[in-house]
Amino acid sequence: EAGVAQSPRYKIIEKRQSVAFWCNPISGHATLYWYQQILGQGPKLLIQFQNNGVVDDSQLPKDRFSAERLKGVDSTLKIQPAKLEDSAVYLCASSSSRARGEKLFFGSGTQLSVL
């Protein structure tokens, strides 16, 4: 079974530039998550999709971050404009349902450095 795919693996940009990350979840997984993991901290949920609808984006900085999941499969996360504090690893995860206790499968992440 193929895992969660993310690209690019690394990205270096200057502040105020824009950047986009892509995620392809495990086939058939209806629930998709984007997490931000700052160095030395645990991952923090940015946004959760159920199929192509948003179920939780309460911690997404909507003035600069946006995400979409067209057709309920792939997803993209965009930052525009980037700030220094956005330097982090961005993790995508998927699960077969949104039930409490459901196992999440994580991708390897995109490491973003904002200079």
Binding site: G40, L45, Q48, K103
Partner: protein, 115 residues
């Protein structure tokens, strides 16, 4: 609000000796709790989960954890450490939000295994 506290940011053990990674939780109702492991440059992987069934939970690679309601703890243990266990470990609590399943991660414990 539900949360988890990992009591040690770094733990160092010798190969072949027991491992203990400590986690305390805060929850207004019976929680779902997890331990995830993150090896360098790899995605987060589920070690084990507790969802109100048996209080002693066995996971992969010889790890287990015991849910103790009286102590609000969910410590991770392994009888004998192996070099391949060196990684970062996250204690996680699951919250049912308005339609979603939100995972809240602890700050992580870096496990070092020495010869």
């Amino acid at each position: 609000a539900q949360s988890v506290t990992q009591l040690d940011s770094h733990v160092s053990v010798s190969e072949g000796t027991p491992v203990l990674l400590r986690c305390n939780y805060s929850s207004s109702y019976s929680p779902s709790l997890f331990w995830y492991v993150q090896h360098p440059n790899k995605g987060l992987q589920l070690l084990l989960k507790y969802t109100s069934a048996a209080t002693l939970v066995k996971g992969i690679n010889g790890f287990e954890a015991e849910f103790k309601k009286s102590e609000t703890s969910f410590h991770l243990t392994k009888p004998s450490a192996h070099m391949s266990d060196a990684a970062e470990y996250f204690c996680v609590v699951s919250t049912r939000t308005g339609g979603g399943n939100k995972l809240t991660f602890g700050t992580g414990t870096q496990l070092k295994v020495e010869l």
